[in-house]
Point group: C2
C-alpha cells in the first residue's frame, strides 16, 4: 500500500496498514530549505511561479516522508482573483474592504484557469514530481472564512465588521457568500482536474459563530458547494478551527472527511458523529514544541481513539514556524510506528 | 426587588422579576465619559487611583441603569503584584517572561492589601457610592489565563510558550498555577471583604486547551481555589471564552455561576448541565453593532432559552469599543422589557 492509496482509503474509511499522515502548513516557515528559498524570492514570487510553488510543496514530503503533499498556496489568492488588491508586505492587506452591495457587485467571477492558472500549473508540476506514489491535495478557503477576510480587509481579532454584516444585513452577507462560493467551486474543480487527489476547504473562522448562525447563514452555501464538487468523486476535507460546537452541522455539509482541532477529542467526535465519519487531526501544534517521547505518547493515544480507521493523522491547526525539525520527525515516525 | 437583590437571587437560581443584566468590559473605551477621563489620566493612573477607578466603574451603571457594577481594573495587576514589570504603553508588556523553575521561585506571594490595596480602596469607594441598591462585582484572571500571559510576556496568537511548558514540564506548570492561585485566592477574598457581592474569575484562554489537558492540568487548581473562596458565601462566577467543549469540567469547578460565550446556546448548556446551574451570558458582542430591533429579538430569544431563571444576562465576551451607545441602551432595555 503506497501513501496515495493509504490516504485515499482513509478518506473512504477503508482499512489501511496504518493511518496516513500530513500536517497543515507543512510547506513553509518551519523548514530551513523553505527559508533559504525565501531569501532569494518574495512570498508572492513563490506563490505565483508554478515551478517554485511545486518545489516548496514537495520540500516537507521529501524531508519527512509524509503521505500527502498539499500544494503551496494561500487562501487569499481567491479574493485577489475576484478583484481585490492583495499585499503581503510590509503587512498583509486586502483592499478595498467589502462592506456594501456595490462592493459585492464589483467583485469579479474570474475564469479560474486564467486568474489562478499559476495554481493549476503548480499542481500539474507537483503531480508530475510525485507520480502516483503520494497523495496530492488542493485547497481553498471556505466562503465564510474568505468573506471574513474580504469584509475586514484582512484579519481581525473579533471579525466585528464581518459579523456586523452577517447580523445586520443577512441577505447581503449571503449574496457575498454565494458569489465567493461560485469561484471556490470553479477553483477546486480546476485543482481536481490538475491532479488533486483530494481538496481541503479551510473554514478557519467558522468556529467564531454560534451554532444557530452557522446553520442558518453558512451551512446552506457550503452544502451546495460540496454537492457540486462531489460529482468529481474526489474526496473533500472540511476543516473548522473550533469545530467542537459545530460537529453535527459540519457533518451535514456532506464533506467526506472532517478536519478536527484538538479542543475536542476524536473519541468524543466519534461518539457524536458515528464511526463511519472519516476524520482528520487533531494534535495541538504546540505539542510539537515538547519532546520526542511526549509527542510519541500523544500520537499513539490519539490514534488509539480511532484505532487508526478512517483517520488521517494531522495537527489540529497549522504547524508552528518555531517547531524543531526533530520533533516533526518524531511526530511522523510515531504514526508509522503505531501498531493496532 | 432592587438590582442587587435581583442579581444575588439569579446567582442562586431563585425566582426574579426579570433577569439581571451587566456587560463584560462595560467600563471603558465604549463610553465617551471614560474617553474624556483618559485624556486627563493614563490608564495606569485610572487603575491605581481608587477614586478614579470607582468613578470609571460607576459610569456605565449610571448611564445604562445596569444591575451590576464591576470594578474597573485589569487582570494583569496580579502578575505585577507578584513581581513582574507591567507596562501598558507604547504596548502592553509583562517582563520578564516566566519560563523556568527559577523564574517561578522568584515570583512573590504579596500581601494583597499592600500590593493591591488600591483595588481594595476602589471597591470600598464604589460600594459606598452604590449603596446596597446595585450589585458590586470583583474579579481576577484565573490561574491558567494569568500563567499564559506570564509565560508569554503578555499575549500571543497560539500561546505556544505557555503550552510548551504545560506539555513538556507539567509539574513546573502546575507549580506556577498553584503559586498564582494562592495570590488570586487572597486577592478575591480581599475584594469580598471590601464589599464585593460576587466575584468573577476570567479564564479567557482555557478554551484553547483540549478537555483532557484542562481536566488534568487546570481543573484541580481551580477546584481548590473555588473551594477556598466558597466559605465566604459570596457567589463565584467562572468564565471561559470557548466553553462549549469544557462544560462539564467547568461545572465541576464548583463555581456558582458559569459564564457562557455565544458559541454554544444556553438551551444546549441547560441540556448538558441541568437547569439548576446558574448561567451568565451569552450574546455575541458583535451583535451590538447591528440595530435596535435585531438586538431586541436576539435578547428575547436568548432569555427565552432559560425562561429568565438562574440567568444573568451578559455578552459572551467583552463589549467592543466601537459599539454605538444607542445599541447598548437597546440591549439593556430589551432585558428590562422581556416578559415571561
Amino acid at each position: 500500500m503506497n501513501s496515495r492509496e493509504r490516504f485515499l482509503r482513509a478518506c473512504k474509511n477503508q482499512s489501511v496498514d496504518r493511518p496516513p499522515v500530513w500536517m497543515m502548513r507543512q510547506a513553509g516557515r518551519a523548514l530551513p530549505e523553505y527559508r533559504a528559498l525565501r531569501k532569494k524570492y518574495s512570498f508572492e514570487k513563490l506563490l505565483t511561479t508554478p515551478e517554485l510553488a511545486a518545489k516548496v510543496s514537495l520540500q516537507p514530503v521529501k524531508r519527512f516522508d509524509l503521505d500527502a503533499c498539499i500544494i503551496f498556496s494561500d487562501i487569499l489568492v481567491v479574493p485577489e482573483a475576484m478583484g481585490l488588491k492583495l499585499k503581503y508586505s510590509p503587512e498583509i492587506s486586502l483592499k478595498p474592504p467589502i462592506r456594501t452591495k456595490y462592493d459585492i457587485a464589483r467583485l469579479k467571477i474570474p475564469e479560474v484557469n486564467q486568474a489562478l492558472g499559476y495554481v493549476e500549473h503548480a499542481m500539474k508540476n507537483a503531480r508530475q514530481e510525485l507520480g502516483k506514489k503520494f497523495a496530492l491535495l488542493g485547497f481553498s478557503g471556505a466562503p465564510f472564512t474568505l468573506a471574513c477576510y474580504m469584509i475586514e480587509g484582512w484579519s481581525s481579532k473579533s471579525f466585528s465588521q464581518a459579523k456586523k454584516m452577517l447580523y445586520s444585513e443577512p441577505e447581503l452577507f449571503t449574496s457575498l457568500l454565494e458569489k465567493i462560493s461560485k469561484v471556490v467551486a470553479d477553483y477546486l474543480r480546476m485543482q481536481m482536474e490538475a491532479g488533486a487527489d483530494a481538496v481541503q476547504i479551510f473554514d478557519t473562522w467558522a468556529g467564531e459563530l454560534s451554532p444557530g448562525d452557522y446553520e442558518q447563514k453558512v451551512l446552506p452555501v457550503l452544502q451546495e458547494l460540496i454537492h457540486k464538487l462531489k460529482s468529481a468523486s474526489v474526496p473533500v476535507i472540511y476543516y473548522i478551527n473550533g469545530i467542537a460546537n459545530l460537529l453535527e452541522p459540519a457533518q451535514s455539509t456532506g464533506a467526506d472527511v472532517l478536519g478536527i482541532d484538538w479542543r475536542v477529542s476524536l473519541s468524543e467526535v466519534r461518539k457524536q458523529l458515528g464511526k463511519e465519519q472519516a476524520l482528520q487531526g487533531n494534535l495541538d501544534p504546540a505539542l510539537l514544541l515538547s519532546s520526542k517521547s511526549i509527542i510519541r505518547n500523544k500520537v499513539h493515544e490519539m490514534i488509539n481513539e480511532t484505532k487508526g480507521r478512517g483517520h488521517i493523522v494531522n495537527l489540529g491547526h497549522g504547524l508552528l514556524p518555531e517547531t524543531p525539525l526533530q520533533n516533526i520527525s518524531a511526530f511522523v515516525q510515531a504514526v508509522k510506528d503505531w501498531k493496532k
